[in-house]
Amino acid sequence: MSNTPVIEIRDLHKAYGQLEVLKGVSISAEKGQVISLIGSSGSGKSTLLRCANLLEDSQKGDILFSGEPVEWKGSGLNRRPANQKQLLRIRTNLSMVFQQFNLWSHMTILENVMEAPITVLGRDKSETEAKAREYLAKVGIGDKCDVYPAQMSGGQQQRAAIARALCMEPEALLFDEPTSALDPELEQEVVKVIKGLAAEGRTMMIVTHDMRMARDISDHVVFLHQGLIEEQGSPDQVFGAPKSERLQQFLSHSVH
């Protein structure tokens, strides 16, 4: 059982109209594993996460959660998830932090964080509130509970989005550049949080531009280039001894 990957993606293809963004990507993440996705801007990292969460329909390939393949209907550009129940089950076990945060603008930060646990998981309200406040404090914005997203700085919004994902306490988490708007200090906090989650056995896929962080936290690093996996391996392999020329060039710009 422990060998069944929590998230497995097999030969995934995705195009926006004519533009082929993913051209056959396979990744598998086992329980408690942290996988980092790196790659240059526009290489399809966000798209991959969105496909994994079934927010975008992919045209070819399989996605499996704990060994259970997503059921599809239709094919090609008309391929859609077939089973609503399954979709729901998958998504409640999978939280996402968006690159653009996507906080619900009509709710305060606290409400944003409490919303899904209460309405989706049916958790107790006062318990959830306590937990939400705890997570918000953990990411350092415990004093901003009753503020609306539009009144917060970029970094504060990003941290609220992280707290919202954490409060679901899901099996797996998808982070799209979770520290892009954070200073090094806060980044370290987030890294700590992620490590804690991994220790609890949660699976994570993280898109990041911060090579230091990728090296720091991941068990496995995937380098995406033009819609394909150019290279992957342990952080030491990937950062220490990159094989492909493209990756070497990519890494040459970041100093560690």
């Binding site: 969460n53 927010l55 609503q84 729901l88 089950r89 998504r91 409640t92 999978l94 939280s95 996402m96 968006f98 653009q100 996507n102 906080l103 619900w104 603008s105 009509h106 709710m107 305060t108 919303e115 899904a116 309405t119 989706v120 609306y148 997203p149 539009a150 009144q151 919202r164 679901m168």
Partner: protein, 268 residues
Amino acid sequence: MTCWDVISDYGLRSLGFGERLLPRDDFTICKQVVLIGSGMIWNVYFGTVALLAGFFLAVGTAVAKASANPLIRKPAEWFIFVFRGSPLFIQFFFAYFAFVSLKGAVPALGGLTAAWLGAVIVLFLNTAAYSAEIFYGALMSIPKGDIEAADAYGMTGWKRFRRITFPTMMRLAWPSYTNEAIFLFHATTLVFFSGFPSRGQMGDALYYANYFADKTFNPFVPYPILACYFIILTLIVIGIFGLVNARLNRHLPQQNRGKLRLRLNLIR
């Protein structure tokens, strides 16, 4: 006859209380103001009942129109199309006709041919259709990110609707919905003008304004009085809807909200 007497005589004339006969001579401004004001009771009644009831049908219909299931979507589309696509007075005409025949078949449904019930039903369906289209439009323009985040957290169906979709939909639809509410109150003047008969000279504001215009042959007094009443009514509607709007938009940054409040103050 002082103006107080006029008020006690005609203040509730539109409901059948007070003086049996309408004024026949000496059409003072006071009489015109009081009697037209009395008629406003009907306009307010028609508008309020239709609006409140119509809101719920409209939300339901808007959601139905957005449904992927054609069995749900098609009836909603047709309902909106027919009621939004035809003039109100044609709806009144056919409704009255249908209600009269229905009354012949089922005497218990006699109330339908009276304005207080029949006209309200027509107005209710009419405003529901218009509002449904507005809500549907708003539903279609909810920020993608909001829905996406809800999806990603496994919110669906009723939960997603009630917590994410509905509040945002209301916020986006509210300005247009305010317009629709105003149109509805204005449309209530059509009830006796070209819809249902008025009984025992009990009518709405336009009925009495028309009466005075017909007696004095001077349209420049009763109709502006009517206009003033409606401006006041409209301002009240705008005021109430403005309060709701402020609540719906409480998350917007301060300066934007300040602007809105300032605007309402000026109109008030």
